[in-house]
C-alpha cells in the first residue's frame, strides 16, 4: 500500500514536469521559483513537526514534579531506613542469622543480637543489631547498618550508611559514604569522613581532621587539639566597627571588620566579606556575599551564612544551648579547636576540622 502511494506521488509529480519545456529559460525560472517556494515552506513547517506530534501524541504533558511533602529533616534518611527495618523485623530470627527481605529489591539482612566483629571483615549485606554493634579495624559495611543500641566502630571502618538508636562512636579514619545518624551522642575520631550528612539528637563531637558536608546536633563541638587560622589582613576600604557596644543592623557593600572586643546588638550583612576579630559578640546573624572569618572566643547568637567560605577559630560559639542556629557556606567551612555550634552546619563544598 505504501509503495503504491509513493508510485502515485512520483507519477503525478512527473506528469506536469514533463509537460514543461525546461530548456525555455522563462519556464525554467518559473519552476525554480516554485521549487524554492516549496522548499522554503517545507523548511518553515519542519520545525513544527515534532511539536505537532507532541501535541497530538503527548509524552511530556504532566506538570513538573513538586515534592508535596518535603520538609527539611536531618534525620530523614535514618527515619526512613528505621521504618523499613522495624516493619520487616517481624521476620528476623530471635537471636542471630541471615534473612532475605523485600525492600525495593530482595535484600539479605545479617541479624545479630550483639555484634562484636573481628578486624578486616567485609559485610556484604544489611546489618541489623538488636543490642549493640562493635566492629574491628578496617571493617567494610557494603550496605546500611542499623543498631537498636550503640555502634562503636574500630579505626578505618567504611560504612555506606549507619544509624544507631544509642550512641555512635566512629574510630579514627572511619569513612561514611552517605549518612550517619544517632539518637544518642556521636563521637568522631581523628580524620573521620562524615559523608553527605551526620546527625545526632544529643551531641556531635568532632576531632581534628574530620571532614563533612552537613552536620546536625543540639551541640556540635570540635576537640581542643585542632589548630587556628590567621585572620585576613585589614584593607583600607574596609568598614570597621570600633570596639564598643553598638545597636542596629550593619548592612554594607564593603568588607566589614568588627574589631576585637566589639559588641553588636543586631545583625551584619556585607556584599563582600565579614571579619570578626577575637572576642567579638554579635546578638544577631552574620551574612556575607563573600567569606566570613570568625576569630577566637567570639559569640554569635544568630546564623552565619556565606556565599563564599566560613572559618571559625578556637573557643567561638555560634547559637546557644537549647536553640538551633546554622553555619552555612557555599564553598568551604573550616573549624578550629574548641568551637561550638548549636544546631546545623552545612556546605556545598567541603567542611573540615583543622588539624593541629
Amino acid at each position: 500500500m505504501k509503495n503504491l502511494l509513493l508510485l502515485l506521488l512520483l507519477t503525478s509529480a512527473a506528469q506536469p514536469a514533463a509537460a514543461y519545456n525546461l530548456s525555455d529559460p522563462e519556464t525554467a525560472a518559473t519552476v525554480l521559483t516554485l521549487l524554492t517556494g516549496v522548499a522554503w515552506l517545507a523548511l518553515l513547517i519542519v520545525p513544527f513537526g515534532p511539536g505537532i506530534i507532541e501535541l497530538f501524541y503527548p509524552r511530556d504533558k504532566m506538570p513538573l514534579n513538586i515534592n508535596w511533602n518535603f520538609v527539611k529533616d536531618p534525620f530523614y534518611f535514618f527515619k526512613s531506613f528505621r521504618a523499613l527495618m522495624l516493619a520487616k523485623s517481624y521476620y528476623f530470627p530471635k537471636d542471630s542469622g541471615t534473612v532475605e527481605i523485600q525492600l525495593s529489591r530482595p535484600e539479605k539482612v545479617d541479624v545479630f543480637r550483639r555484634m562484636e566483629g573481628a578486624p578486616e571483615v567485609n559485610y556484604p549485606n544489611i546489618v541489623y543489631a538488636k543490642e549493640t554493634l562493635t566492629c574491628g579495624e578496617g571493617s567494610v559495611f557494603v550496605k546500611e547498618v542499623y543498631s537498636l543500641g550503640d555502634i562503636t566502630s574500630g579505626p578505618a571502618t567504611v560504612f555506606r550508611a549507619a544509624g544507631a538508636e544509642g550512641a555512635f562512636t566512629l574510630g579514627a579514619g572511619t569513612q561514611i559514604t552517605r549518612w550517619a545518624a544517632a539518637e544518642g551522642p556521636m563521637l568522631a575520631g581523628e580524620n573521620v569522613s562524615l559523608g553527605v550528612s551526620a546527625a545526632s539528637r544529643k551531641s556531635l563531637a568532632l576531632s581534628a581532621g574530620c571532614s563533612f558536608h552537613a552536620l546536625f546536633a543540639p551541640e556540635i563541638s570540635t576537640g581542643p587539639s585542632a589548630a587556628d587560622l590567621p585572620p585576613p589582613p585589614a584593607l583600607p576600604g574596609d568598614t570597621e566597627l570600633p570596639p564598643c557596644r553598638t545597636e542596629g543592623l550593619l548592612v554594607t557593600r564593603a568588607p566589614v571588620r568588627l574589631l576585637a572586643g566589639t559588641e553588636l546588638i543586631g545583625s551584619v550583612k556585607s556584599h563582600s566579606s565579614v571579619t570578626l576579630e577575637d572576642g567579638v559578640k554579635v546578638s544577631g546573624g552574620i551574612f556575607a556575599e563573600g567569606d566570613i572569618f570568625v576569630g577566637r572566643n567570639c559569640r554569635v547568637a544568630g546564623n552565619v551564612f556565606a556565599q563564599g567560605s566560613v572559618a571559625i577559630n578556637h573557643g567561638t560559639e555560634i547559637g546557644a544551648a537549647g536553640g538551633i542556629k546554622s553555619v552555612v557556606a557555599k564553598r568551604r567551612i573550616l573549624l578550629g579547636g574548641g568551637v561550638k555550634v548549636f544546631g546545623h552546619i552545612s556546605t556545598q563544598g567541603r567542611g573540615e576540622v583543622l588539624k593541629a
Binding site: 509524552r59 504532566m62 513538573l64 508535596w68 546573624g285 546564623n303 536553640g323 546554622s326 552555612v328
Partner: protein, 423 residues
C-alpha cells in the same frame, strides 16, 4: 520632510539597539544559568526561632479553589504558634464566605477578613488585611495555588538576612496538559523562573517579587497614607512590581527561591490570557511611569542594577515600540528609503522571534527545559512564535491603557483572572 525621515530613521535605530540590548541581557542570563556560578539560597539555614508569618490569600468568588489552598496551608510545616492565615474575602458573591467561616470555626489559625465595602482588588484587599496582620513576614498566595508542606519555611527563612525585603518562589503550572495555550504557558514559566529569575539573583541584579508564592517584610513595606499604614497603591495594577522597585530604591533586596515551588492554574482560554497580560502590561507600565526616573537617579543601586531595573520596567513597552518601528519602516519605504524597508524587517523579525514578545526568550526556555529535564515538551518551542504577536497586541493595549491612566489620572478597576478548576 527630510527632518521627519531622519527622526524616523533614528527612532528605528533606537528600537533596534534596545532589542539587541534585551537579546544580550537574556543571552547573558541563559549562559549564567548553563555555565555560570549559581548563588545559594537560604534554604539550608535551620533556625529554631523562625519569624512570625501571616499568610494572605486574596479571594474574589473563589468557592472552587478556596478549600484546597486552606487545607494545604493548614498542613504546612511551620511552627503553629508563629503562623496566622488571613483569607481575604474580597466582595465575593458565591459561597466563599461560608467556606472561610467554616474553616475559621474549626481552625483558630485562620482569621478571615470579609470585605464588602471600599475598593475591590488585590492591592486594596492586602492593604486592609495588613492592618490586622500580626506577622513580621507577610506571605501571599493566590487562591488557585496549592502550596507544598515545606514552602512557608523555605520562603520565610531568607528574612533572617536583614537586607532581604521580599522573596519570590517558583510558580509551576499544574494544568499543563489542558491545551496548546497551557503547554506554551508552561514553557514560558519555565524560562521565566528557572533561567531569568535565578540568573538575576545569581548576578546580583533585580529578581522580581511576583505577588504570589512569595513574601515581604512588613516593616520595610508599610508607609502612612491619610493616617493609615498601607503597603500598596490601589491604583497600580501590578502591586508586586511596584513593591520590588520600592524595596530596591530603599536599598533592600529581593531574593529568588527556586526551591520554593508551588503549583498554579494557568489560563486555558486565549481571551482570559489576553486580559491577564493586558492587566500585567498596564500595571507594569504604570510602575515604569512612576519609577523609571527614580531608578536612574538612585544612589542605592549599582550601575548594573540601574540598567537591569530600567530594562525590566521598559520591557512591556517594547511591543508597541516595535509595532511603531514597523510602521516607521513602511513610511520610510514609501518615502523612497527602500533599504530600510527591505533589510530591517528581516532583522526585526529575527530579534522579535528571539528576544521579546514572549515572557522569556526562546533560548531561555530551551535552557530551562533542559535544566528541568523535560525532554519532550521542548518540541513545542516553535509554537511560541504565535505568542510573539498575540502577546504583542495585548501588551500594546495594556501600555496604551497605562498611558491614558497616566495622563487622565483615572482610577483603575481590578479584573480577576477566571478559574478553570472543576468542582
Amino acid at each position: 520632510m527630510v527632518l521627519a525621515l531622519l527622526i524616523l530613521k533614528i527612532y528605528v535605530n533606537i528600537v533596534i539597539a534596545l532589542m539587541v540590548l534585551y537579546i544580550a541581557r537574556q543571552f547573558r542570563f541563559t549562559m549564567n544559568r548553563m555555565s555560570g556560578e549559581q548563588k545559594m539560597y537560604y534554604q539550608d539555614i535551620m533556625d529554631s526561632d523562625m519569624p512570625s508569618v501571616t499568610v494572605l490569600v486574596p479571594m474574589h468568588n473563589e468557592e472552587l479553589v478556596a478549600l484546597n489552598v486552606l487545607e494545604r496551608l493548614l498542613d504546612a510545616d511551620y511552627p503553629k504558634e508563629r503562623l496566622e492565615i488571613i483569607p481575604i474575602n474580597d466582595h465575593s458573591e458565591d459561597k466563599t464566605r461560608e467556606i472561610l467561616d467554616k474553616f475559621a470555626a474549626e481552625h483558630p489559625a485562620i482569621r478571615p477578613l470579609h470585605r464588602y465595602a471600599g475598593r475591590r482588588g488585590k492591592p486594596a484587599a492586602i492593604n486592609e488585611a495588613l492592618q490586622r496582620a500580626t506577622g513580621e513576614v507577610i506571605i501571599v498566595f493566590d487562591a488557585d495555588y496549592r502550596p507544598p508542606r515545606g514552602i512557608l519555611r523555605d520562603i520565610a527563612v531568607c528574612f533572617k538576612d536583614p537586607e532581604v525585603g521580599a522573596v519570590m518562589g517558583r510558580v509551576v503550572p499544574e494544568n499543563v496538559g489542558a491545551n496548546l495555550l497551557t503547554r506554551m504557558l508552561d514553557l514560558e514559566r519555565s524560562g521565566g523562573y528557572q533561567v531569568d529569575q535565578q540568573a538575576r539573583y545569581n548576578l546580583g541584579l533585580l529578581p522580581q517579587y511576583g505577588g504570589t508564592v512569595g513574601g515581604f517584610r512588613k516593616s520595610y513595606c508599610l508607609h502612612t497614607v491619610d493616617g493609615e499604614k498601607v503597603c500598596f497603591d490601589p491604583n497600580i495594577l501590578t502591586e508586586d512590581t511596584e513593591l520590588t522597585i520600592k524595596l530596591y530604591l530603599q536599598g533592600k533586596q529581593v531574593v529568588y527561591a527556586n526551591r520554593a515551588e508551588c503549583y498554579e492554574e494557568v489560563p486555558e482560554d486565549w481571551d482570559v490570557r489576553g486580559r491577564q497580560i493586558r492587566r500585567w502590561a498596564r500595571g507594569h507600565t504604570q510602575v515604569m511611569f512612576r519609577y523609571l526616573p527614580q531608578i536612574y537617579r538612585s544612589k542605592m543601586l549599582t550601575r548594573r542594577q540601574k540598567l537591569d531595573g530600567m530594562l525590566l520596567l521598559v520591557l512591556y513597552a517594547m511591543p508597541p515600540l516595535f509595532f511603531l518601528a514597523v510602521a516607521a519602516l513602511m513610511v520610510l519605504f514609501f518615502a523612497g528609503e527602500p533599504a530600510y524597508a527591505t533589510l530591517l524587517p528581516v532583522f526585526f523579525l529575527t530579534v522579535a522571534f528571539n528576544a521579546f514578545g514572549n515572557f522569556s526568550a526562546f533560548f531561555q526556555i530551551g535552557a530551562a527545559t533542559f535544566i528541568d529535564g523535560s525532554t519532550y515538551r521542548i518540541r513545542l518551542l516553535p509554537f511560541l512564535m504565535m505568542n510573539v504577536f498575540f502577546n504583542g497586541i495585548y501588551i500594546s493595549d495594556g501600555v496604551i491603557d497605562a498611558a491614558l491612566d497616566h495622563v487622565s489620572g483615572r482610577a483603575t478597576v481590578w479584573q480577576k483572572t477566571m478559574r478553570f478548576r472543576k468542582k
